[in-house]
Amino acid sequence: MSVTGAAVPAPDGTPSTSTRSAEARPVREALREVATRPAGIAGAILTCIVLVAAIFAPVIAPHSPLYQFPDGLRADGSPVGPSATFLLGADALGRDEFSRLLWGLRETLVVSVTANIIAAVIGVAVGCLAGYYGGWLDAVLMRITEVLIAIPAILLAAFLAIVIRPSLATLILIVGGVSWFYLAKIVRAEVLSIRQREFVSAAKLYGAGSGTIIFIHVLRQVWSLVIVYTTLQLADTATFVSAMSFVGVGIQPPTPSLGDMIADGSHYLESIPRLAIVPGVALGLVVLGFNLLGDSLHDAMEKHA
């Protein structure tokens, strides 16, 4: 649930009353701006590392994340610590923690990124429709959004998970399906304010068939907002996906995911703390990277001439 400062609408959805509404700068310029600030650089680097690790996990990982080594567990059943074979030690079933971390990162990111793309599409669509057409469509869409906001996402997931732990696809759909609300509100507010400003001139220029053109114009305006918001949202989704695995409605074992690893590791906090700390730190770095990047992008875009 992150937000860009000035564009925050009122709770009921009416656009922000700030006289300094953002004239969003082109993304390229903003990126250049980001590259000059330490926070931005740090964020970009972290994000890159995380993405590279995730994308190239199959190549980088020394072992399969699923293979339980017979000598990964000692005779009493406790996992072996860091060694030449196991860079970060073994997990509770004798699997290589480092490989699982990389693959878990990959899993978490795949779900986050895909889910957020879906969320962005839905959010923009709903926001545009509501803001552009207004009237009863707006009212209905906004009420539906409010209803969905009022049902906590994790409970909704739990409700559905009564039957079974979701597959990857279902998980992505569920996460995507609960992450678009705020984006929709923001987009709607933006569209409303654009409509007030541009409608008259556009109508004058193009006559009756101005609908599509305004639509495209709206999308162009909203686009940078969506990028910033989605980047920030990625961090949230990563945490949410982990939370779902933590309570047991994430992906089926033995597929590794950061949340599962934290959950399993948390039982060993007293005996083998590294099992909980390592995935926790990994998740933290992902969140940090996305947030720094998103923040800098936002700051850069908010700069006014």
Binding site: D76, G77, L93, I164, Q252, H267, Y268
Partner: protein, 537 residues
Amino acid sequence: MIRAIRRFPVVALSCLLAGVTLAACTDSSTGQQAGQSHAGGVVTAAISTDPPSLDPAKGFDSTSWSFIHATFVSLLTFNNSNDVVPWGAATMPAVSDQGLAYTFKIRPGLKFTDGEPVTAQAYADAIERILNPATKSQLQAFYEIINGADAYVNGKAKNVSGIQVSGTDTIKFTLTKPDRTFLDVMAIPNASAVPPNLIAKNSAGFGLKPVGDGPYIVQSYTPGRQITMVRNPNYFDAKSVSVQKISITIGLAPQTELLRVQNGTTDVMMDNLDAPSYLAVGKNPKYSAYLHHFTAIADNYVALNMQKAPFNNKLVREAAAYAVDNSQIVKSIAGMGSTLTQILAPGMPGFDPSVQPIKYDPAMAKTLLKQAGHANGAGLPSLTFAVANGGFTAGENVAQVVQQDLQQVGFKVQLKVMDSGAFLSSIGQYPLTMGIYGIDYPDPYDLIASQFACAQIAAGNNWQFYCNHAVDQTLNSSLSLSLPAAIPVYRQLQSQILSAFPWIPLYYQTLYYFVNPKLTGFGANALYPFLFASWRI
């Protein structure tokens, strides 16, 4: 018989650790004076989830049984040696009619805490209540051996004709055929009397506010939060009960419970230690006095669905059994157990220590698969392996070990972890199911028949879908034998059943409990991890 998804599989006797038996009073070594009840101390305990039911007609897992056993008096009960002894009955019943009729005399002095007297009629009503379909009791099948039960259950009779009450203290049960396990079935906590007036007013809600006649009274019960029990001064043997109050917090994670017992804020951790907790405290000399352990009389195995491909082929089943590395399985549960070798578990009469476990032999498994026409898994679809979730994480871990072992010889296996409701509804759908069966009472018939009788397929306990009518017949006729005579029959039967490889045997679990040493008498008998009435602090 009942399939129990036991969160805490039933416990075997441990004579050494059972410091106190139910008849302790005659021995005054603990300083008790005859005739004076020694009451002392408050025990704090923590448990992660509510006991499924405190109602004698409903609870059938070992935790619920521990509570029911502490608050209600059944006609008979099990002592620490797993023998059936009289409790609510004054003496063992008189058996007549060639084993068809059992007559009990209720002992005097039993009183419900709401003042109602405990009469023979109360016992009769309680058994009928279990049989009554409206109660939705899962114990119903246990008492269908009583004459007239069938007619009653089907609505054709208003009462069970085989239960006859005469006077206030005599009750006679007539069975449809001789069955030595009837005594066991009258010794489980479910066969306790309940106050008829209260039940008449509110039967469905009785479990939330149980009223009994046993060693303890449930003073208050808030589901999800706490249970408080206090000593019942009107219990007929109150002087054998020591702890004045037991205060149980519900809802803490087992990990937190462990920390609390370690730092002294809680006395008893009522969840048994899982692998990570055991690794944290099991080898620490500081905590050696805190640990109590017993081997559960329960089978942990993978049920192979014999009615569907590929496990309808004996060679494939055999291959699966040889593929699994037993020692790795035991390692994955932190050594809290031993390899399962037969249907009867250690502690069950008839357990045969000479039976060897199935050797871990992946080469043999591959050969067998090839013989079956599936060299290296050719022609085998991906097999779904159903596992129940619900706090029992050992199931998930062990399942992953099994999955890898099977995959190494060519099977393709996919895990499907489900909550227990969905899991139970899915029995029969999938080729592989993680199975556990804990005993209901210490008679070998229970373990063998519940899991392998043809009728148990419909009843939902025979997850292998094993069905052999000759075996069924032997099982049925074994009930009329005495236990010592029946044991060789059961040993032969289990060997016959297992030679068909209906399951992949996994392990017998040893349950570890973490308890502050200032509490003595923790002990346990075959069926109750928590013998509240024998605790002393």
